[in-house]
């Protein structure tokens, strides 16, 4: 196999069909970019789930009256509630946090947003039992048992909020993946079409190759490599696109959320980890499409 010959054929092929080649590369790039975006969301959700696993708590918020007058939870109804919580089955720990401690914690969480802190007053923060469960899913037990009890203002379930948040992220992921799939289909058709056009413009060469006894691989390989090269350029473009998207858009809109630790930041490392998959997908899809097209539509 004369590689220099095959590659010079590939380069002529790509140059001759330059508009089709560009269309093919762009469609592949967009498809892979969306796929990459989807994979990044998956990584983000995984990281968040790992971050929050074991930290999820149910907060039993106490009324203003209790919050103001019972700093150490020694009086009724606070002491009784604590006893009841501790004796509820499935409860791992119960921590009482009075109004001042709560305010300190609030200040810590939102230190990145001084304008929010300026508006906040300790009086707005209720004293709270922070209850950790053995099974973070079983929050409804606490809710049904304690909501409405004297001294209880409400039961706040972090898990429920997080679930909604994850649902949102997973929705984003699904949309990205569906769009990626549609784009991939368009890319597939374009690859197939480009190869057919390419084979047509080179029909004299291919005819001569057949006649002088070139093997099937020799005649097909330039077309296959053409498709794969376009696929690889597409995936490089896609990775570049993801880096630019992160640098100029994502970092800006998520800065507050990532700095306060609510969502984990997407780093360049994440893109680096996702990109081999994009390369692999590009190579496999373009090579398979190329091969099938040559088999079905092009007589070589």
């Amino acid at each position: 196999m004369r590689t220099s010959f095959v590659f010079s054929e590939v380069i002529t092929g790509l140059r001759r069909n330059v508009t089709m080649t560009i269309a093919m590369i762009l469609t592949t790039a967009i498809s892979l970019g969306l796929l990459g975006g989807g994979l990044l969301v998956v990584r983000m959700v995984d990281k968040m789930q790992a971050n929050y696993a074991g930290k999820l708590e149910v907060s039993v918020l106490l009324t203003n009256d209790v919050s103001a007058n019972d700093k150490d939870c020694t009086q009724q109804p606070c002491a009784g509630l604590r006893k009841d919580l501790e004796s509820t089955s499935g409860v791992e720990t119960v921590v009482f946090q009075n109004r001042d401690e709560g305010f300190e914690r609030f200040k810590r969480i939102f230190e990145a947003q001084p304008e929010l802190l300026k508006l906040a007053r300790p009086e707005a923060i209720p004293a709270t039992f922070r209850v950790k469960l053995e099974d973070p899913e079983r929050t409804d037990v606490i809710k049904t048992a304690f909501e409405g009890k004297p001294g209880v203002k409400g039961v706040d379930d972090q898990g429920k909020f997080l679930e909604r948040f994850f649902e949102g992220l997973n929705g984003m992921r699904d949309v990205a993946l569906i769009l990626a799939l549609i784009q991939a289909f368009a890319a597939l058709l374009l690859i197939s079409n480009t190869i057919q056009v390419s084979a047509f413009t080179r029909r004299v060469e291919v005819g001569i190759m057949r006649l002088v006894g070139a093997t099937r691989w020799y005649t097909q390989l330039p077309f296959l490599i053409e498709a794969v090269v376009a696929g690889i350029i597409g995936s490089v473009t896609a990775v570049g696109g993801l880096v630019l998207f992160k640098a100029f858009f994502l970092d800006r809109i998520t800065r507050n959320l990532t700095e306060s630790g609510i969502i984990p930041p997407i780093g360049y490392l994440d893109i680096l980890i996702v990109s081999p998959w994009l390369f692999l997908v590009a190579i496999v899809i373009s090579a398979t499409t190329g091969y099938v097209t040559l088999r079905l539509y092009v007589r070589l």
Binding site: F5, E205, I208, M209, L211, V212, G213, A214, T215, Y218
Partner: protein, 229 residues
């Protein structure tokens, strides 16, 4: 060398067979004219030898190849032992004379040092030395056909198939091409040439196989094109 045994070929789109129970044998080193009007089956005959087509019935042998029965994977081997020349030359306009000839070797994976050695040799044989770097458009029709013959012969095939090689050329140039084909024939290469050219067939006095409606109607060892045509 070449043997057809009761070969028939029926195309799906036609009711009449393109070839109808044809049996012919050609020896190594023979020069054979294949004549007959358009549609008589000459092209089908040649395409069967190259395994561009598979016969509907009968067997085709070229050298050691059982052409009709061989697997697709072996077809390139068969074609490497057959050279082809056409009426329309089929040169690559973007490649020079030398590159056109080298192309035939490159695509069958011949090593570079072989190519640089044999291409000038064959160009000299066909009388194109000095024109290696010309492009096909810069050559006359006769010279273009010489390039095509050089390309067909560069791999030293056992058989050279020429499908109306003089069809686009004036009589004098045609004569030159015939001399070249004769020279190639003298190296021991079997030459099968389909043609409509009376003058050439009559002056060469070689074997003539005439086809009509897919049947062999004449096979003369030293024939002419035909009386009264």
């Amino acid at each position: 060398m070449i043997r057809l045994e009761h070969v028939s070929k029926v195309y799906k789109t036609s009711t009449r067979p393109a070839l109808d129970d044809v049996s012919v044998e050609m020896e190594k080193g023979e020069f054979v004219f294949l004549i007959g009007p358009s549609g008589s089956g000459k092209s089908t005959f040649l395409r069967l030898l190259l395994r561009e087509e598979v016969p509907t019935r009968g067997r085709v042998y070229v050298s050691n190849f059982d052409v009709a029965k061989m697997s697709r994977r072996r077809v390139p081997r068969l074609r490497q032992s057959i050279g082809c020349v056409f009426q329309d030359f089929r040169l690559l306009p973007t490649k020079t004379v030398a590159e056109n000839v080298a192309f035939a070797l490159e695509v069958i994976g011949k090593p570079r040092n072989t190519i640089v050695k044999v291409v000038p040799e064959v160009l000299q044989l066909v009388g194109l030395d000095g024109k290696e770097d010309r492009f096909p458009t810069e050559l006359s029709g006769g010279e273009q056909q010489r390039v095509a013959i050089a390309r067909a012969f560069v791999n030293r095939p056992l058989v050279l198939i020429a499908d109306e090689p003089t069809g686009n050329l004036d009589p004098d140039t045609s004569q030159d091409i015939m001399l070249l084909l004769e020279r190639i024939n003298r190296t021991g290469t079997t030459v099968i040439m389909a043609t409509h050219d009376h003058g050439i067939v009559d002056s060469m006095r070689r074997r003539v196989v005439e086809l009509s409606y897919g049947k062999v109607v004449r096979d003369d060892a030293r024939g002419v094109y035909g009386v009264g045509r």
